[in-house]
C-alpha cells in the first residue's frame, strides 16, 4: 500500500519540453538588459523610463539585501546578476495561423487547443510562451463589445494611454523586491479592459508556459473593469521538469470601478520539483486588486498545487464604499514543496466587507503557511471581515502554520476568525471503505470535501480540472 513518502512520485503530466528555437537576452542584469528588452518590444519612451526607474530601485534593494526573508520558506540565494531575463520563440507570428506548429501542439497537450475548430467553447485564451504572448483567441468577438483582451505588449502599442494610466497604479514598482524586479524586466503578459456596463460574455483566460531552460518568467497582467462591468478571468500555468530552479516573478494588477466586479481564478501547476525536492519553480508573485469604486467587488480564487516554493498574497484594497473583497484558496504542498500564501484585505471605505477562506493541505514533507492581514483604516466605518483558515495534514512529516495579522483603526469594525487543523482520520477512511470505496477514492472524497467551499467558486470546467489535479497530485499519497 502507498505510504505518505510515495506521494511525491505521482506523475507531473506537464513536464515535457517543446523543441523550438528561442531567442534569449544576454545573461545578466544591467541597465543594458532593460534597454535590450524594451527595444525588443519596440516600446515607447515612457515604458523604458518606468522600467529604468524600477531597475534603479531594484538595484538599491539588492545592495541593501532587501530580499524578503520573513516568509516561512527556505531556499538557496538567487544569483540575480547572472540570470536570463528574456526568452521568446524566434519566429513571431503575425496571426494565429502563423503560430509555430510545435507551440500549437504544446498547448493542445496542455488541454488548451488554440486552433479555431478545437477551441474551448465560452473561453477566450491568451497563450503566453516563456516571455511572450503567442496567440489570443476570440479577439474579434470580444472586440465587438469594446472589450480589449490580448498581450500586454500589444496593449502598450495600441492603448498606451490606458497603460500609462493604470500600470503600477495598484502594485507600484516600489512595492516589494520582486515587484521591482518584475517592473524592470517583464516582457509580456495579458491586458484586459472591459468597457462601462459590459458583462464579458466569455471566460477570459491566460495560460502561462515556461519552456526555456534557464530563463525566468516575468509577466505582468493588468485588468481593468470599468463602471458597472463584469468579468471572470482565469489563469493556468505549467513548466517542464528540470533539475534546476527557475524563477517566476509575476505581477497582477486589477482595478474595479464603481459597481464593477472581477472574479479572478488561478490554477497554479508549475513544476514542483522531484521527490527529493530537486528542481521546480520559485513562484514569487505579487497580486493585488483595487476595488476603486463604490459597490465594486473583487474575488480571488486560487488552487495552488505546483511550484517548489509559492510566495503569494492576492490582496484587495477596499477603497470604494460598500466594496467587497474575497479570497478563496486551496494550497497543496507535497514532496518538499513549500507554500507561504494568504491575502491582505485593506479596508479603506465605509461598509466594506471581506471574506477569506483558506484551505491548506500538507502531505509528504510539504510545508504550508497561511499568512494574512486584515487591516481596517480609520475611515472604514462598519467594516466586516470573516476569516476561516483550515489545514489538513496527510502523514506525519508535513507541517501547517497559520499566521493571521489584524490591524484595526476603527472601533465599528467587526472581525471573525476561525481556524482548525485536522488529519484525514482513520475513522473517516474506514467509514468510506466500509461502504465499498477504495482507499484512494475515500481519500479524494474527503479531501475534495475539505476544499469544497473554494472549488465552488471556480467556473464549472475549471472546478472539474481542479478536482482532477488534486487527485493526480495526491495519487498514492495516503496508505
Amino acid at each position: 500500500m502507498a505510504t505518505p513518502e510515495s506521494l511525491a512520485q505521482s506523475e507531473y503530466k506537464y513536464g515535457f519540453v517543446t523543441d523550438i528555437e528561442e531567442e534569449t537576452a544576454p545573461r545578466g542584469l544591467t541597465e543594458d538588459t532593460i534597454r535590450w528588452i524594451s527595444a525588443k518590444k519596440n516600446e515607447p519612451e515612457f515604458m523604458l523610463e518606468w522600467r529604468l526607474r524600477a531597475f534603479k530601485h531594484f538595484m538599491t534593494l539588492v545592495e541593501k539585501h532587501q530580499e524578503p526573508k520573513w516568509a516561512n520558506v527556505h531556499y538557496p540565494a538567487i544569483d540575480f546578476a547572472n540570470g536570463v531575463y528574456y526568452a521568446a520563440p524566434k519566429k513571431t507570428p503575425a496571426s494565429l495561423e502563423d503560430v509555430d506548429a510545435e507551440i500549437l501542439s504544446t498547448y493542445e497537450k496542455l488541454g488548451i487547443p488554440l486552433e479555431e475548430q478545437k477551441r474551448l467553447a465560452g473561453v477566450a485564451v491568451d497563450a503566453v510562451f516563456d516571455s511572450v504572448s503567442v496567440a489570443t483567441t476570440f479577439k474579434e468577438t470580444l472586440g465587438k463589445q469594446g472589450i480589449i483582451f490580448g498581450s500586454f505588449a500589444d496593449a502598450v502599442q495600441e492603448h498606451p494611454d490606458l497603460i500609462k494610466k493604470y500600470l503600477g497604479s495598484v502594485v507600484p514598482y516600489t512595492d516589494n523586491f520582486y515587484a521591482a524586479l518584475n517592473a524592470a524586466v517583464f516582457s509580456d503578459g495579458s491586458f484586459c479592459y472591459i468597457p462601462k456596463g459590459v458583462r464579458c460574455p466569455l471566460e477570459l483566460s491566460t495560460y502561462f508556459r515556461i519552456n526555456a531552460a534557464e530563463s525566468g518568467q516575468f509577466e505582468r497582467t493588468l485588468l481593468i473593469a470599468d463602471e458597472g462591468s463584469y468579468v471572470s478571468y482565469l489563469e493556468g500555468c505549467s513548466a517542464p521538469m528540470r533539475d534546476t530552479n527557475q524563477l517566476h516573478a509575476a505581477v497582477v494588477e486589477l482595478v474595479a470601478m464603481e459597481n464593477a466586479e472581477i472574479k479572478y481564478s488561478t490554477i497554479q501547476n508549475w513544476y514542483p520539483g522531484d521527490e527529493n525536492g530537486v528542481g521546480g519553480i520559485f513562484n514569487f508573485v505579487t497580486k493585488r486588486a483595487k476595488a476603486a469604486g463604490n459597490n465594486s467587488k473583487i474575488s480571488w480564487t486560487q488552487v495552488e498545487t505546483g511550484s517548489a516554493i509559492t510566495w503569494k498574497y492576492p490582496s484587495v484594497l477596499l477603497q470604494g464604499d460598500n466594496s467587497i473583497g474575497e479570497f478563496y484558496s486551496v494550497a497543496l504542498t507535497r514532496g518538499y514543496q513549500q507554500a507561504d500564501t494568504g491575502t491582505k484585505m485593506t479596508h479603506l471605505g465605509a461598509n466594506t466587507r471581506s471574506k477569506i477562506i483558506s484551505k491548506g493541505i500538507s502531505a509528504g514533507h510539504g510545508s504550508n503557511t497561511y499568512r494574512g492581514l486584515v487591516k481596517v483604516m480609520p475611515k472604514a466605518a462598519n467594516a466586516r471581515n470573516f476569516t476561516q483558515c483550515d489545514s489538513l495534514l496527510i502523514g506525519d512529516q508535513c507541517g501547517a502554520h497559520t499566521v493571521p495579522y489584524v490591524e484595526v483603526q476603527n472601533s465599528t469594525a467587526h472581525l471573525e476568525h476561525e481556524a482548525f487543523t485536522s488529519k484525514v482520520s482513520e475513522e473517516q477512511l474506514f467509514y468510506c471503505r466500509q461502504r465499498g470505496m477504495s482507499s484512494e477514492d475515500a481519500n479524494s472524497l474527503i479531501i475534495n470535501g475539505f476544499c469544497k467551499e473554494v472549488f465552488q467558486q471556480l467556473p464549472f470546467e475549471f472546478a472539474v480540472e481542479a478536482t482532477r489535479l488534486l487527485e493526480v497530485s495526491l495519487e498514492g499519497s495516503v496508505g
Partner: protein, 252 residues
C-alpha cells in the same frame, strides 16, 4: 452464510475477543447481547475489517470465503455492511454523494450498472421512506449536524440502499427515543429476507421487542457463553448478566 471459528482479536495490544464461535444461516436475525466491555463492538469492527483491530487467530468465512484477509472495501463488496454505532462526520461531502460513491463502487465490483445522479436520487427518495428521513437532510454533509436519531436512521437507509448479504448492526438502538426506535426497528424488519442475515448487537432487550431475533447469543469476556431463542433475552432483562457470567466461570 457466516461461519466464525475460534476467533481471537486485540485492540490497542489488549486481547478482547477470546475465541468466538458463531454460525449464522441465511434468513436469520442473530442478536448478540452482553455487558459493557464484553467485546460486542470489537466483534463488529473485526468482521468489517477496521485497521485498528488485530486478528490473532481463528477464521471467519462468508459463504466459504475467507473474510479476514480482505481489506474493508472488499468485504463491503462481498456483502458485509456495518451499521456504525457512532457514524463519523465528513465535512464538505454531501451525504447523497457519499452514498452514491459507495453504491457505485459496490456495483462496479460486481459488474453491475452504476447509477447516475438522477437515477440514484430517485432510488434514494423512494428508499428514504422506509426510515422516514427527510430527503433534504441527504443534501447536507455526511452526518454533519445530524441528531442521534437521524444518524441511526441514516445508517439503516444506507443498509437499504446497499442491500447487503450480512448486516452487522452495532447498537442501532443506543440513544434513541421511542419513536426513533420504532422507525429504526421497522426499517430493519422491512429489510429481513430469506437470503439475507442480520447480526444485531445490543445492550438492552428493548429493540428485540420490535425486531424479534431467531437466535440470542450472550457475549461475555470475549466469548459467546450462551445461545438460545428470544426467551433468553427476557431472562437477561429479568436477571442481568451475572448468572451467565457464572456459567462461564463455574469455579468462581
Amino acid at each position: 452464510m457466516l461461519e466464525i471459528r475460534n476467533l481471537t482479536a486485540s485492540v490497542g495490544g489488549v486481547q478482547v475477543l477470546n475465541g468466538i464461535n458463531l454460525s449464522i444461516q441465511p434468513g436469520t436475525v442473530h442478536a448478540i447481547m452482553g455487558p459493557n466491555g464484553s467485546g460486542k463492538s470489537t466483534l463488529s469492527n473485526v468482521l468489517a475489517g477496521h485497521p485498528q483491530y488485530t486478528v490473532n487467530s481463528g477464521e471467519a468465512l462468508l459463504d466459504g470465503v475467507d473474510l479476514l484477509s480482505m481489506p474493508p472495501e472488499e468485504r463491503a463488496r462481498a456483502g458485509i455492511f456495518l451499521c456504525f454505532q457512532h457514524p463519523v462526520e465528513i465535512p464538505g461531502v454531501r451525504m447523497d454523494h457519499f452514498m452514491r460513491a459507495g453504491y457505485n463502487a459496490i456495483h462496479k465490483s460486481r459488474g453491475l450498472d452504476e447509477a447516475d445522479p438522477i437515477q440514484f436520487d430517485r432510488m434514494l427518495k423512494e428508499t428514504s421512506k422506509i426510515v422516514e428521513i427527510d430527503p433534504t437532510l441527504l443534501k447536507r454533509s455526511v452526518n454533519d449536524g445530524f441528531s442521534g436519531g437521524e444518524k441511526k436512521r441514516n445508517e439503516i437507509l444506507q443498509m437499504a440502499m446497499l442491500a447487503p448479504k450480512l448486516s452487522i448492526l452495532d447498537e442501532p438502538d443506543s440513544g434513541l427515543d421511542v419513536d426513533s426506535l420504532r422507525i429504526v426497528a421497522e426499517g430493519i424488519n422491512q429489510l429481513r429476507s430469506p437470503d439475507k442475515a442480520v447480526v444485531l448487537i445490543t445492550h438492552y432487550q428493548r429493540i428485540l421487542h420490535y425486531v424479534v431475533p431467531d437466535v440470542v447469543n450472550v457475549l461475555i469476556n470475549g466469548r459467546i457463553v450462551k445461545s438460545g431463542g428470544e426467551e433468553l433475552a427476557a431472562e437477561i432483562e429479568a436477571n442481568g448478566y451475572e448468572g451467565l457470567d457464572q456459567a462461564l466461570h463455574p469455579s468462581s
